[in-house]
């Protein structure tokens, strides 16, 4: 029997225009009269139209989970279920996608089949933390749907005060600017923290994100407590023949305007013969010249990562930027990846032990100071951690000589290592 279709004059206006319309998609589902999800989607459209009329949301949270896990389902119960009873329960299941969000069509079709059988037929690819959001399922169907998707190789993602689903850029799979194996690093770090994702008991959420270079395509710097950004230590590689071709295309003025003068540390200079001179010691690996000259310039060989901590969005104290914790660590061997896993564990553990309730890593660092934080996680001070040294003399410095001795000792060790290499 055909379900009664709600009147949706406001939503209907979102079907015109050239961009793909989610309303058209919802209506398609609502018209699948022989499917179990049609009544739920009709009801959902009714409630959404009601939201558009009244400019209010009508969902509230609750507690829904799967056996063995304490997170991963976003419960949604309707506060307007008297009017829209078939979507009274409309939960989202968060799934972690394959790193880099690669899919075979077989895998996506299998997901669709599960969602046709148990869910609303609505899937968001992807949420802001990188989850596949299977949107709209009744409480009773959550467990069987999870069992099927879990058997396909999918695991639930994070929610609440725990480790959250992560993202890594396309990186090594397709991008020559990739400076480490982003997918491998992401999977090693996150898969080691699953207990804190599936059974959340942290002060608040903890996000890690993995970008292969300073272009930061997954927005790690702003959007994660633990941001891993690819970089390199040696010289930018230059193919002077290809470079001359770019100078020819852009013209000298164009090349100077668009490449040389946009270098943030004035490390570039166009020679009289249209070759490029690079002051590699001043280069901060910002990627700009490499972005413009993709064939002529490329990242160096001594690749690794810079790690920033404490990025987050507005609540509670305002937006915070991630700041440098590890200026550089090479990423070559299995031990390097294990080092990264251990560091992420230390940072998470310090956060779990020291943050106040509902405090993010960045807020905790702002409260206790970066020095207490790095001492807690066992990282040495480094001038790359600051935009500039202190400008305020209000600090007690009677431990000065000991700190200088530590610095000199580290410097001695570093030069010994360098000499050995």
């Amino acid at each position: 029997m055909a379900t009664k279709k709600p009147e949706t004059p406001l939503l209907d206006q979102l079907e015109s225009g050239p961009w793909p319309s989610f309303i058209t998609g919802l209506k398609h589902l609502a018209s699948d009269d022989d499917k179990q999800y049609a009544p739920m989607v009709n009801s959902l459209l009714g409630q959404l139209e009601h939201s558009y009329e009244t400019r209010k949301g009508y969902w509230k949270g609750g507690t829904i989970g799967v056996r063995g896990y304490g997170a991963g389902i976003i419960p949604r119960f309707s506060e307007a279920s008297d009017k829209f009873p078939e979507s009274a329960e409309f939960h989202t299941m968060r799934l972690m996608p394959p790193a880099g969000m690669h899919y075979s069509t077989d895998l996506l079709r299998e997901l669709c089949d599960v969602w046709e059988e148990y869910g609303s037929g609505l899937i968001a690819l992807h949420g802001q933390s990188g989850d596949i959001m299977m949107q709209g399922i009744s409480s009773d169907n959550v467990q069987p749907a999870f069992d099927k998707m879990n058997e396909m190789g999918f695991d639930l993602g994070g929610a609440g005060a725990g480790v959250r689903t992560s993202m890594s850029c396309i990186g090594a799979a397709r991008c020559e600017q990739s400076c480490y194996d982003e997918a491998k690093a992401m999977r090693m770090v996150i898969n080691n923290l699953l207990d804190d994702m599936h059974r959340p008991s942290l002060p608040y959420k903890f996000k890690a994100k993995f970008s292969g270079c300073a272009n930061d395509c997954v927005n790690a710097t702003h959007r994660s407590d633990f941001a891993v950004l690819g970089t390199w230590k040696d010289d930018i590689k230059v193919n002077q023949g290809e470079l001359k071709k770019i100078v020819e295309t852009l013209g000298r003025k164009g090349f100077n305007d668009q490449v040389v003068n946009m270098c943030p540390t004035r490390a570039l200079s166009l020679n009289d013969d249209d070759t490029l001179e690079i002051d590699n010691e001043s280069c901060v690996k910002c990627m700009h010249c490499i972005n413009v000259c993709t064939k002529a310039l490329s990242v160096g060989d001594e690749k690794g990562v810079t790690i920033l901590v404490g990025g987050k969005r507005t609540l509670k104290i305002g937006d915070l930027m991630g700041t440098v914790l590890i200026p550089f660590h090479k990423m070559e061997t299995e031990e390097d990846y294990e080092w990264l896993v251990e560091l992420s564990e230390n940072v998470l553990e310090f956060f779990a032990d020291n943050a106040l309730e509902h405090e993010r890593t960045g807020e905790m660092i702002e409260r206790i100071g970066l020095v207490s934080f790095i001492e807690g996680v066992g990282v040495d001070v480094d001038p790359n951690m600051v935009a500039h040294p202190r400008t305020n003399s209000y600090v007690r410095m009677d431990g000065w000589d000991e700190e200088v001795a530590k610095w000199n000792e580290r410097k001695g060790q570093n030069s010994k290592t360098a000499a050995a290499e």
């Binding site: 939503l11 056996r67 063995g68 669709c112 509670k316």
Partner: protein, 360 residues
Amino acid sequence: MSEAQEAPRMPDECGVPDPQQYMHPTLKKNYGAWDWHDRPQVGVLHHVAKSGDEVWTVKAGTQRQMDIHTVRKLCDIADEFADGHVRFTARSNIEYTVADEGKVAPLVKKLEGEGFPVGGTGNSVTMISHTQGWLHCDIPGTDASGVVKSLMDAMYHEFKHEEMPNRVKITTSCCQINCGGQGDIAINIQHTKPPIINHDLVSNMCERPAVVARCPVAAIRPALVNGKPTLEIDEKKCMCCGACFPPCPPMQINDPEHSKLAIWVGGKHSSTRSKPSFHKLVIAGIPNNAPRWPEATETVLKILYAYKEGGKPWERMNEWIDRIGWPKFFELTGLPFTKFHIEGWRGGRNALNASSHVHL
């Protein structure tokens, strides 16, 4: 317990799936060994591996909240035109990779024919990163998908053409938590009135000390109303951020009239050229005008076209404004500059002009 009774199935904590099994074979073969890339046309990337292998990637926009028919249609296109593999970007664009250049044109034609715009590469306006809104969030002041649909309709040309100084990343957020994130342009809810409290429900629904602790300006305190324990707000202190609403739904912050939209510009995630930056307020008080949000769309276009006109190649929104100065920005966009644009939060003096550098 009878032997026939099965133990309940416990989850396989398999974690993040390995992408190698799903990615295009040419990507898998050349993993970590790429050489260079270029963009032969808008919406198409061309990558060359050190082995000499080449792939072409066609990028198309989607509505993000997709019905299974749409997902299956995208899969059909991949099976017929693109070797059976797809990936998604962080901004909900779909990418088809092919190892044969001859497959690009038919794939582009098919996608366009099915209503998926090809574009979003390089210096275009790519898909808006957004949140859930009225469709699924428990605290939204507005919708997400509808705002994004309206804006992307208006910026359709800019998605399909690379005519901007540099890439433009736009975000929307349905509350002041700003889940949409930082953007070159961010369209976010800004509440303008304190929450309206249903005192009958507070003691049953809210963990009161946690709600008190959640307020950024310590404006919430315990109270008794009609003999019931509840919470009250010092409305002189309250700056209407809505932080109390998620942990305490009876403190309703959303208001059909007084929850407005504000637009912020100059957020940048990358460390490319300039250091990353946060977006800055440029205009508030825009009505939350469903279903098409015409006032917000008009303002976004005004800002976008000023940048398109004035930005130099490779300058992101914030870098363009850094060069021309804020007075010029407000002049070019015709937006008003008010006392609300001046930062008053902690560290706010750092946002003042401590120099004699003025734009006259």
